[in-house]
Structures are given as structure tokens and as C-alpha cells.
Symmetry: C2
Subunit: 136 residues, 2 copies
DNA sequence: TTCTAGTTTATAATAATTCTAAACTAGAAA
DNA sequence: TTTCTAGTTTAGAATTATTATAAACTAGAA
């Protein structure tokens, strides 16, 4: 599948029609080899550069939310009152620097768990994340 | 040390004078055998029951913040835009139920890590938390 | 008991997010 | 190709959590 179709496909499977605005958002998120972390605020700055509004904030919120529930983005756990997202949806872990408040990826293979609890009755484990808080 | 002095001591070592309001907050937090999770909102409801205001919201925010930096409370990692705290400051982990959005403690001994990455240069590991997301 | 630095509080300000309703458009059907 | 409508976008208002402000109050040293 080419890049264009890939994006249209992600939108469709997230339950979204591929409009101009949504395609722009999807490109900003998925048109890169590297994965990255972002907030709605930083994504908005990236899309609506130099004071030129191409997509409204409301649409960015809605689209990010849809991609997240479809599993194309992962919400990151932090202790801040702002939502952080990761375009890397593979299982992996994070360093959280308490000084700079920055998140860094830790590859899955860098951490190994030798004992995991059984989940409460009727529940299944969806995902497991380790956050290592670091400081100077 | 008795309960009263314990509380005064926690306040003093958090850099706070033991005023009537702060002692009330500290009692709500530490006068129980069981540890628990809370938000400023739930703590406020617990303290200012039945529409009777005993302590202002601002003081609750300030005091919780001071206890947190002093290490008497731990901020919990979530994907929500609200601060969650834990009166259990011992190293432990959490189940996070994506359906009900509830957090449950996992005892430290229930999880064992057999491989941990080295932190970036000049940084030390302060704390390590595992969050296991569960769903139906 | 006095006095002042520290404290409390109601209220305003700010920040992130969600809601609303009117104008617009993708794309199925004619 | 054109028409039509359900879905979409948007600016701005509303809501929610948090932080700031500044005037009235008080713990506790002297």
C-alpha cells in the first residue's frame, strides 16, 4: 500500500472520512520514519505554522482521539495535566526526566519482567508499561 | 511518636506550620491503616462534607503539593487530565482499568524485573513503576 | 501580650479540553 | 455530472482543573 492509501486506510478504519483536514493531520503524524511524542499543543503548532490556520484545534482534538481509540496512537501515562501521545504503538517503556519533564523511549528488549500478576477476574491484560523516573 | 505528633512532624518536615486547617488535611490523609488513592476533588469532598467548608480548596491544593514534594504522598501516572495521588509511598505498581478508569495497587513483590536499562548519563533512577492496563 | 512572617481564603486568572450550532463538503445516488 | 444529505469543520462559548492574587487572619517567637 502506498503512503496515500495507507493514510486513507488509517482514517477509514478509525471511522473517519478522509477529509482534507484529517489527511493533513494524519500526514503530520504518520509520514515519518521516526516515531515521536507529542501533545495537541505541539501538533497544532506543527500543522498551523506561522499563524496560518489550516485545521482548527477542535478537529485536531477529535482526530487524535479517534486515532487513539483505533490504536494508531498511544496515550502516554504522566503525572501532568495534559495529554501526551506517542506515534510508537509497539510495546515499549519510558524514562521520565523529572527535571526537564521529558520522555524518552526505552526499547522493549531493554526491560525484562520475570513475574507478572494475574489480572482481576474477568479482566485481560491489554498492555504493560514501565515508567522509570530519573533525576540528576 | 503518637498520632498527633506524627502529623505535626509530617507538616514541619514538609516546611509547613501546623495550622488547624493543615492538621485536618493531614488527618484525612494519614489517620488510617489503609492507604488509598485520591484526587484534590475527592479529598475536598471528604473534608468539607455536607456543604460545610472547613478548609478552602486553595489550601488543600497547597498542602497536598507540599506533602508530595516532601515525599509523604506519591503522584500517580495516568492518562487523565487530573492529578491522582496515592497515600501508599512504598514502591508498588498499578492495574489501570481502561473501562472504569480505576487504579488498583499491585504489591511490589507481585512483579519482578530481571533486566533494567542503565539511565542516561548523569541521571539516576529515582523510581520505577509498572502500569498494567486491563480491560474486559 | 505583642508583633510579624507566614497562612487562609474568596475570587480572579489561566490552561486544557469539550461542547455547540451554523456553515460547509464528501461521496452515494439519481 | 449534478443533487442531496449525513457527516464535518469551525469559531467561539462552556467547562474543568489548577494557579495566582491580595486582603484578612493567626502561630508562635520574643
Amino acid at each position: 500500500m502506498n503512503q496515500k492509501n495507507e493514510i486513507v486506510n488509517k482514517l477509514r478504519t478509525s471511522g473517519l472520512r478522509p477529509t482534507k483536514q484529517r489527511v493533513l493531520i494524519a500526514k503530520s503524524l504518520f509520514d515519518s520514519d521516526k516515531t515521536f511524542h507529542f501533545t495537541v499543543e505541539t501538533l497544532n503548532k506543527k500543522i498551523n505554522k506561522n499563524g496560518v490556520t489550516k485545521v482548527s484545534l477542535a478537529t485536531i482534538y477529535n482526530t487524535v482521539e479517534a486515532f487513539t481509540s483505533a490504536g494508531y496512537l498511544k496515550e502516554i501515562l504522566t503525572s501532568k495535566n495534559k495529554s501526551y501521545y506517542d506515534t510508537n504503538i509497539k510495546s515499549h517503556h519510558h524514562f521520565y526526566d523529572e527535571g526537564s519533564k521529558e520522555l524518552t523511549d526505552i526499547r522493549y528488549s531493554q526491560i525484562r519482567l520475570s513475574k507478572i500478576p494475574t489480572p482481576p477476574k474477568g479482566k485481560k491484560i491489554k498492555n504493560l508499561e514501565v515508567v522509570i523516573r530519573i533525576q540528576k
